[in-house]
Symmetry: C2
Subunit: 294 residues, 2 copies
Amino acid sequence: MTGELAFIAALRALATDPAARGLDDDAAVLEIGGESLVLTHDMMVCGVHFLPGQDPADVAWKLVATNMSDLAAKGAVPIGVLLGYQLSAGTERFLAGLGEALAHYGAPLLGGDTVGGAGPQTLGLTALGRATHRPVPTRSGARPGDTVWVTGAVGGAMIGLEALRADPAADPATTLRYRRPQARLAEGRVLAPQVSAMMDLSDGLLLDALRLARASRVTVTLESGAVPLDCPEPRRAEALRWGDDYELLFTLPAGCPCPVPATRIGTVQDGAPGRLLVDGIDQGEAAGLGFVHR
Amino acid sequence: MTGELAFIAALRALATDPAARGLDDDAAVLEIGGESLVLTHDMMVCGVHFLPGQDPADVAWKLVATNMSDLAAKGAVPIGVLLGYQLSAGTERFLAGLGEALAHYGAPLLGGDTVGGAGPQTLGLTALGRATHRPVPTRSGARPGDTVWVTGAVGGAMIGLEALRADPAADPATTLRYRRPQARLAEGRVLAPQVSAMMDLSDGLLLDALRLARASRVTVTLESGAVPLDCPEPRRAEALRWGDDYELLFTLPAGCPCPVPATRIGTVQDGAPGRLLVDGIDQGEAAGLGFVHR
């Protein structure tokens, strides 16, 4: 992890454009021709981000949805995608899922690259979107007194992955939230003009909330019992640390009503910068709070 | 190869945006806010596109340069890049080369993603550029009577790769053209208003010339002896089929003087569409003409 963080810090130092914040945010924002272009790139590796035996159609869907979720966190409308595809068995199914996802999100395939290679399949997707509200939401705008909210529920992807690991032919309804995550694009657009900070949940609610607290240099306090679950209650602690939910986590100024269906799960306080309190207990550093990409 | 072509054809069918041509062209062109944005995505896999023991700084340079070469073929000025980095040994060297390349090409790092994974390292780069001339050059505009040109010389990357394979500590000057390809951005910008068609050489002069002939639905005739070499004369036939040269191949309307240092190597004829003649001999299909990504 240290190596990764050092690498990311070094990459950030290379980012000479002051508007660049993709490496520690959901997406980069580029001002071009009077528009705010939102750019994101996500990679997925077989055995890390998806199961070796998984239906390639679901893999393609998830590849698209994770990038769309980054656009959602910026309140952006999809423009299109570029695909990096490492050739592998299951191309027909991959194409089927890719077509479904791109049609669902209204994002045409603009271009890309195909490569060979013998290792675990690696995929990349770059998504472009057009911001609908400026300033474009960031993770860094939460202020003391703000309320903290989350769309939907968490834990569904965890249940789905467990079911799929146990049985590749598991009930599709049970595994749906892992296989076919839904990016909250519509909610993101409605929220963009209202939020003080916004991000999508990809690595676990607690870890992502800590990242928001750090980016905003505030203390975020959450009530764990308030978070809606899409899994049995005894799994609550794990569900708050599990990734792949792709809900939106956001803050609203005090007194601002929430314009989309969502749940209030905490508040922003004027405490030490970059701290996360859950049920009053300081969570310390990131260890154990969620999924760290390595 | 059939599978790959079918995949690409299917991917192209998915590209509902008529402006999209990235999968059979060097880059996609997107009209946004009155600007023509040029977008390209290239992947590189260890063991396919670079040697397992190669200096990661050279790998990073090449990853940037190949994408910059795609921008050059569109006469575009770099805006920035998004990096997909699979963590691996040699990160410090990778960063060093990345920083050199980005500074050289004036392309800031806008964002990206880092992932784990145990297989051969896979890297992706998305580059964005701003077109300097519209219409943006394509592969499909060559017309009978046009002259065919190439910048620089070919064969240098072949010699460099051979030397590096034989000895990882080979004379750096000998391996330079393989390790540190130079994208022809300046030439591309000067050429863009003049050319009828333009592309960069990534998979071998003959294969790329055939692609230009197909895209333009013309017959391209080349004189193999006219092509400048950066390798010994006995290797000419191989050099014309070798990839990684990243020169620009372009056509000019009859009588139009070439505005950059380049060599005339052939003509466009009113023959069968999508044919390539070399020294008068029809080259048939793509087999054996260059490097096909698998």
